[in-house]
Amino acid sequence: MAINWFKYSAPSTFYGLAGKLTPWFAWPAAVLFAVGLYIGFFVAPTDAVQSEAYRIIFIHVPASILSMFLYLIMAGYAALGLIFKTRLSSMMASALAPTGALFAFISLWTGALWGKPMWGAWWVWDARLTSELILLFLYLGFIALQASIEDPRRADKASALLAIVGSVNVPIIYYSVQWWNTLHQGSTIKMTGTSMHVAMQQSMFTVLVACWLYAIAVGLSRVRSIILEREANTQWVKELPEVKQ
């Protein structure tokens, strides 16, 4: 059975589809957050070294992973929009940017709150935290560029190019920061992976899935607003029941 994907790449079709899909991601996200945190707080045992403070990683690690992946996905969508001129992909890219930036922010904040009790400093120039900070800068640049260009088509193309250049740079930045970090023998946040209790892994994984679902749900509902803004002059938007009432 062949599904006509191009049909769904038309903003008018996708608008309805996204609306129907959103709750299917939002509610499982809420449930999985609850389950993941329940395991994290009530099942996972207290860590011998870090005591209760380690429980921060159940949100810190998923947020870090999400912020990195969302940047790549965003750049991928932006590139698709640039190459194939599919408006929807560009809209998806701009819908994901704020979510990615917020995950980067959560990751930095929780990293700081974890660092303080562990190393006695709010901020350590750890390779991962530093990369995360630079990633946040990249997100902010993308959002700022898009916000300052009035013509949406130019905004899409320009920010797509920036995202592509950025994602080529991300690994270079990551490895140079890591190299810089080892040179300066800074402290590194290490979670001895093998000794992690099964419940810890389960909790982290569940929260990670919940974060993914959350990001998809928020991205879908944001892209709906973007479609409405961009397609304001079209007939199908004018005929939507929520617009007509």
Partner: protein, 209 residues
């Protein structure tokens, strides 16, 4: 083999922002023809000319040059066009002569100083050739910009308001230049708010509304 140049616009549509400027626009322009694009402000005259140059991506339709889409022509098409927009594309810090020599260089035209001086003098800039453009009047600057038409060997002239800031003498000169260009088998598409008549040529009119 010398093919007579031909510009074809096929079912062209352009937008500015979300606003559709024109659609379904089509015409053919051959060697020796002169076309004036007319329409009120904001109807897309400049956009049409910029679309012909390839600055603006049309939403639909295509522009063909000698039977081939200009997107395939790329740089060879540019070698056969000369575009003059609202902006003069001249540098205030440089003299008229330096400006013209640099323009020719970028347009890949071998131009000696003698030929450049001749072109400037023909445009009525005698004794102004070595002055920095900064000290010239608006009309004189426009003349410096227009002198590009004399040195670049292009079949298609795309002129956006070429007569801006020109005095009566210069307008006559422009009409003469366009006349020569057309009789050499060239073609011109232009916009203007002033009357422009070339002796012995019927100006075709394209109305955007």
């Amino acid at each position: 083999m010398q093919v007579s140049p031909k510009l074809e616009v096929i079912d062209l549509a352009c937008e500015r922002g979300d606003h559709r400027l024109f659609s379904g626009l089509g015409f053919t322009l051959s060697g020796g023809e002169l076309m004036q694009v007319q329409g009120e402000n904001g109807k897309g005259k400049t956009t049409l000319l910029r679309a012909l140059c390839g600055f603006v991506q049309p939403v639909a339709g295509a522009v063909h040059w000698c039977g081939r889409n200009v997107e395939e022509w790329d740089e060879d098409f540019h070698a056969q066009t000369c575009y003059l927009g609202h902006l003069n594309a001249i540098k205030d810090e440089l003299s008229a002569l330096e400006n013209l020599l640099l323009t020719a260089g970028l347009a890949d035209v071998q131009l000696g100083e003698k030929a450049a001086l001749d072109a400037l003098r023909r445009m009525g800039l005698r004794r102004k050739e070595h002055l920095p453009v900064r000290v010239l009047s608006q009309g004189q600057r426009r003349r410096v910009a227009l002198s590009r038409l004399l040195v670049v060997d292009a079949a298609l002239w795309i002129l956006d308001e070429p007569l801006t800031a020109l005095d009566v003498g210069a307008v006559d000169l422009m009409q003469e230049l366009i006349g020569e260009h057309l009789s050499n088998g060239g073609m011109t598409i232009f916009t203007t708010h002033q009357p422009l008549h070339v002796a012995g040529i019927q100006t075709r009119e394209l109305m955007l509304s």
